[in-house]
Every structure is written in C-alpha cells, then in structure tokens.
C-alpha cells in the first residue's frame, strides 16, 4: 500500500484511501510508541530536514520526535523571519536542499503555497507543516485520528470549527479532510472572520456559537490571534469571549455529550474556558500523542520504505 502522491502538501483533493491509510498506519505507530523502547529502524539512513520559517515549538517538536522514533537523521533549520527579510529566496533554500541530498523536507512557512513551491524545485518528498493561512494537513490528520479513536468512525460525525476561520490553516485542512472521510463540518465565528463566499463550501455557517454547539458532536476550537482584534475584526477580546468563547455553562446547557478539540496553544479564558481544556469534554492531550503517531505515519509512507520495523 502506498500514497497516491509523493508529497503531503494539503488535504484538499487527497483521496479517501490515502487518508484511511495514513490513519491506519498511525494507529500501528501509536502501538510502537507504547513499547518500552519506542523506536523502530524504519527510516535509518534517511535524512529529514525540518525547515521552520515560522516559530512553532509544538509542531516542530512533534515532527522531530516522530523522526527520532523512526531512526531518521534530522537536520533542523529555523528562521524567525520570512526569506524575503533574510535576503535569500525560497528558491535558494531549495537549491541548498538539493545540494544536501535530503530525502524528506518538512516545511512550516508563513506564506501559503511555500511547500508547493518547494515541491516543484526539489527531489525530496515535501511535507507541509503549516503554510500561511492555507493548510496544516498533519494537524487535521491527528484531529481525525483522535476523533476516529473516540467515535470509532468519522462517517456522519458533526464537527463544528469555531473561531477565526478566515485566517486558519487548521480550519481548511480539517474541512477538506473530514468531508472526504464522510463527516459533516460546520463553521462558526464572527462574520468578519468567515472568509468571502465560504457558503460555496456548502457547509452550515453559524454566527451564534450556541447554535453550533446544538448542531455538533465535536467542537474544534481555534486559537484566536490577538492581532485580529487590533485590526478591527472584532471589538474586544472580552466581547469575543462573551459571544464565541466556549464555557462549561454553554456546554452544560446543550445537555448532550460533546467533545472539545484545540490545536493549541490555548488562550485560556478567551476562546476556551481555562478548566475545560483539562475537563472530561477535552481530548486535547490525545491530540498531542496522536500528533507524533500521525507524523510517523506520513514520514514512513512518503519515504517509500516497505516495512514498519
């Protein structure tokens, strides 16, 4: 079994069989992670470079851990600013990667399409670890893995994504991936943070979070960037919390089981009440564990290796 593409650039257009395969493989790796020595020689001799043009401790650590568990050689490259400011173009970066004979590139970048650009210029397999506001496929895969574990299937599951939809790569990847897997998706947030013509996605859009809660089995709560308020997308964090913040009171009022996810890091008390993150509603820690397993699966499947151990 193998994936239909050499790269993982996003989940839009990725066939169901591929997502299925990644999730099934991730489940196998999760078992590996529970062994006393949670390490397999699968990627021994392979070189993975982690290119992080944007700070992201969580995602970087998750990928690094996945690579180590697979016995890959890893090279980390972190740059706090975009390549423009550095004076080196992304094309130069691609040339350097080519010269280094790298097998897999993991790239996180503040500009949408940077992984796509790279994939046109390097022979290595490219994994998108988040590109601008576009996609964050491994995040959505770990979200789907977590939900599949919790509910047994994604088919028919109702997932409401709450928050800054316009600027969220997590929202897009979840939307594309979940719908491919037969789940229903709804979007919820202030009108100013729902992107133009989002209705063409053909999903319910709620401006009222209580309606979204009433509709959903799962809430995927996005991190709200404080700069959005500064730029006038909503009047204050206080009002955001009042209208769209997920609180225990809101969940209890719904009177039904509901699962809370969050891609992290959480602004406690703004998009999510402080105690909810650690409550019975939350699967946030499962998300973190599954993140490593999913990334191992993607690395392994793209590497072209044929056996896990």
């Amino acid at each position: 079994m193998s994936l239909s593409s050499r790269h993982l650039l996003g989940l839009q257009g990725v066939p169901r069989e591929d997502i299925q395969l990644i999730l099934d493989t991730a489940q196998t790796f999760k078992e590996v992670l529970q062994r006393p020595i949670p390490k397999v020689p699968t990627l021994r001799g392979k070189t993975v470079v982690n290119l992080f043009f944007e700070p992201s401790t969580r995602t970087r650590i998750s990928f690094e851990l996945a690579e180590k568990r697979l016995s890959a050689d890893t090279v980390n490259f972190t740059a706090s600013s975009s390549s423009v400011l550095k004076g080196e173009t992304l094309r130069d970066t691609a040339r350097n990667i080519e010269a280094m004979k790298v097998d897999i590139v993991v790239i996180r970048h503040s500009a949408a399409g940077a992984p796509h650009f790279l994939s046109r210029h390097v022979r290595a397999n490219v994994i998108n670890a988040g590109d601008g506001r576009h996609e964050h496929p491994t995040q959505a895969l770990l979200d789907m893995m977590t939900l599949r574990e919790k509910f047994g299937t994604l088919e028919g599951l109702r997932v409401a994504i709450v928050g800054d939809i316009a600027n969220s790569r997590v929202a897009r990847s979840n939307l594309y991936g979940l719908r491919t897997m037969g789940a229903e998706v709804a979007l919820c947030g202030p009108r100013t943070l729902i992107p133009a013509e989002a209705e063409l996605w053909g999903v319910p859009i709620f401006y009222d979070v209580d309606q979204a809660i009433a509709w959903a089995d799962v809430l995927n709560v996005l991190r709200i960037q404080r700069e959005r308020q500064a730029r006038g997308y909503f009047p204050s964090l206080r009002e955001y919390h009042m209208r769209w913040g997920i609180t225990r009171k809101r969940l209890e009022k719904a009177g039904k089981p509901i699962v809370i996810m969050h891609p992290g890091p959480i602004n406690r008390g703004i998009e999510l009440d402080s105690d909810l993150a650690d409550s019975e509603f939350s699967v946030i820690l499962d998300q973190v564990t599954n993140g490593v397993a999913v990334r191992m699966a993607v690395l392994y499947l793209l590497s072209g290796e044929t056996s896990v151990d």
């Binding site: 992304l90 601008g132 133009a196 063409l200």
Partner: protein, 434 residues
C-alpha cells in the same frame, strides 16, 4: 538580437494591408524610402533594388501603441531599461509605448521627462512619457502639469495607486483639462485591498490567501466618474478588471462623460483559478478575477465601453518575483511580447472578433486617447509606422527568449498565433531573424 536598420529602400511584398481606420483589407505591395511610404500598389520584385520583406499571408497594419508600460528607467534598471523595453515592444509589434511614471525618481518633473525622452531618442519605438499626477506620487499636491505637458508628457497617472484624496483628484482633472491631456487612474481603494494577494472570492477562500475585493476597484471607478461628471476633464481608467467597473463605465459613456478605458490581455485570458498553482507569475494588481468578469470585459470591448488593450508590462527580476513565495512577491507581469498573440488567440480565435477591430484597439484607439492618431496614417508620403505579422504562424512562449529583461509572464509555454515579422517607425525598420 539584430538591431534596427535605416529604412532606406524596403519593399513589403504581397502583404494584406489592414488599416482599421478604413476597415478595408487589400493585398498590396508597399515601398518604403528613407522611412516614408513611397508607393502603395503593385511593384515587381524583379525591378526593385533594396530589401524585400516577403509578406505573402502576412498582415500589414499601423504600428501598435501600448498605453501602459513600466520601463523602470530611471532607477530600476535591473528590471528593465528604456533600451530593453523598446526592444521588447518592437518584438511584440509595438512601435510606440507610454511609459508609466512610477520610476525612481518618479516622473513628476520636467527633468525626468526630458531624461526619458533623451534615452528614447533615435529608437525605432517612440516613447510617450506619462507624468505623475502628484508630486512624488504622494497624492497630495498636483505636479507642474503645464510644464510637464510642454516637456512632452502625454498623460498623467499615479499608477500603482489611486489618488487617495478626492479633492486632489478633482484639482488634477480640472487643471489637466486646460491641456486636453487625460488623467489615467489606477482604481483601487487601498484600505479594502490592504494585505491582499488575489481576487477576493471562493478561490482565495479555499487557498487561504488574503483577498482583494472587486468593490475596491469599483468604488474608485464610481468616485472618479462622479468627479469627472462634476468638473469635466478627461479620465482614462487603467486596467479595468471587473464586471462592475465595465457597467459603471458603460453608463458613464451613455451619459456622455469623457471617459476611456483599457483592459490587459491577462485579464481577458486568465481567471483567479490560476492562483491554485501558487505561482507568483499570476500575481498582479488588479488581480485576475473570475470567468464572469472576463466575460464582461470581452463584452465591454465588443460594445466599445473599453476602448483599448494595454499590456501593463511590469517587469521584475527573477530573484524578486519567480523565486519568492506568492504572498511576498511583488505585483506585476510582463506583456509587451505576448499581447498581440494573446489577444489574437482569445478575441479573434475564441470570440470571433474581426481582426481589424482588435488591431483598432491596439493602435488607433489608444492613439486617440493621447491624441497621436496622425502618427498612424498609412498613405503615400506619410512616415512609415507599420507592423507586419504572420497571423497564422504559431509560436511557443519561451520566457528565456524575451527581449525584455523580465521573465515574469503568466503565459509561459502558451502556444500563440501571430508572429511579428517586421516593424517600421522613425525612419528605421527591424525584421525578426528566421
């Protein structure tokens, strides 16, 4: 490349003379002597001594004129120079270009206009400089328009942005009206487009790219038309890209307002779907819009709402355009060498426009806007300002073979009809080798 030669004695043999002015097509021979049209009629090749252009199956038409070209000199000679821009124009069939004033320093005073004219002197391609509407293109004080017109400016524009302050735009239209020179507006509300990368709509939403809404253009078109209606003058709308803008201009023309408009080949040929490739060669301002807008632009050209086709040739260096992330790359694409081919393909082949009509929008119509129609006259005794092209000859766009310094074309690898074989102007002529 081969340089233009003195047009001492040249015979254009057997071409189809297509003069949009006369709307007639006839197969004739044309003799050019010392840069002037000596004879239009039947000439026996055997009895002729001089250079011969075998133009059988070719179209001979007035030299094309491009209203909207960024020659980048002075100040950004790494992107383009007046010399390379003129070569690109020539290779694309243009014998005249209007240079946009967003140079460094900007063309907001007589010395820059004179510099451009000096650099352009003696070339086959005529450069008509456009001067800035406001000093430093800052949108605050109008430039010395009388002096600039006297120095040779044919129009005013702060292209790259609109005149933000409506009162300043009003003064510019009032003041320039004394010289019968148009104000060319790049219509864009800077607040609505702030941070934008592509057309706002579903494609941008799917890609997570910040949008530039169509109303950002239309609001300024509407504002400018209101001001024009109030104070008069002449207004030319650069690179119209939306259906709403076409409708606004159409209504203004019906009311008799002195407004003209241009459209670019890329806005006629491409839509925002191209952005799915995340390729910065499709990033320009105004951005590529939707199929519905493209349709409206074509209708606007057909019914005369849009007067002219202009390239908005905007060269950039490879390292600052092709090699950058889409979100960080600058706006702009080149077009001088592909415009004729693209409009032949899109308008003539795909939308059955008469060839004469398309050539009109590339010659007489733009020339009329800057009052240079007389330079296009085709008759015995007139200066030879002619373009000869093979309408059926197909060629593949190879950015590495452009005469322009720019490689930033959205038409890479397109197969285009219409190869320019020769151009004549200013006593010179050039023919494409092989």
């Amino acid at each position: 490349m081969n340089e233009p030669q003195q047009a001492k004695r040249v015979l254009i043999k057997g071409g189809t003379l297509l003069d949009p002015k006369r709307r007639s097509a006839e197969q004739v021979d044309i003799v050019i002597e010392n840069g002037r049209i000596a004879t239009i009629g039947r000439i026996e090749e055997a009895s002729f001594s001089g250079d011969v252009v075998d133009a059988r199956g070719h179209v001979v038409c007035p030299g094309l004129l491009d209203l909207h070209v960024h020659l980048r000199e002075p100040g950004q000679e790494d992107k383009e120079t007046i010399a390379t821009g003129c070569q690109a124009a020539m290779a694309g069939g243009f014998t005249a270009v209007c240079s946009m004033p967003n140079t460094d320093p900007p063309a907001d005073n007589r010395s820059v206009i004179e510099f451009i004219r000096e650099r352009a002197a003696g070339r086959l391609v005529t450069v008509y400089p456009i001067a800035a509407i406001t000093k430093g293109r800052q949108g605050e004080e109008i430039s010395e328009m009388a002096d600039l017109v006297e120095a040779g400016a044919v129009a005013f524009s702060d292209d790259g942005s609109s005149v933000k302050n409506t009162a300043v735009l009003r003064r510019a239209l009032e003041y320039s009206s004394m010289f019968d020179v148009p104000v060319i507006e790049h219509c864009e509300d800077p607040y609505l487009d702030e941070g934008g990368v592509m057309n706002e709509g579903f494609v941008a939403t799917e890609l997570g790219l910040p949008g530039m809404p169509r109303i950002a253009e239309e609001i300024i078109v509407q504002r400018d038309l209101s001001v024009l209606g109030y104070v008069g003058g002449r207004l030319h709308i650069a690179h119209v890209s939306t259906r709403g803008s076409v409708e606004l201009i159409r209504r203004a023309k019906e009311k008799g307002l002195a407004v003209t408009a241009e459209v670019t080949p890329h806005h006629l040929a491409l839509t925002d779907e191209e952005m799915r490739r995340f390729d910065s060669n499709f990033k320009m301002n105004p951005p590529l819009r939707t199929a519905e807008d493209v349709q409206a632009l074509i209708e606007g050209l057909r019914d005369g709402t849009i007067d002219a086709i202009a390239s908005d040739h905007a060269p950039h260096c490879v390292h600052e355009k092709d090699e950058l992330e889409l979100e960080y790359a600058p706006f702009g694409v080149i077009g001088l060498e592909t415009t004729l081919g693209v409009v032949l393909r899109v308008l003539v082949q795909e939308h059955s426009f008469p060839l004469a009509e398309v050539l009109d929008k590339l010659s007489y119509q733009p020339a009329r806007i800057i009052r240079k129609e007389e330079t296009l006259t085709i008759r015995e005794g007139a200066q030879a300002n002619l373009t000869v092209f093979a309408p059926e000859e197909r060629w593949r766009v190879d950015a590495n073979r452009f005469f322009s310094k720019g490689r930033n074309t959205p038409f890479r690898d397109w197969e285009l009809p219409g190869r320019v074989r020769a151009v004549f102007n200013n006593g010179l002529w050039w023919r494409r080798e092989a």
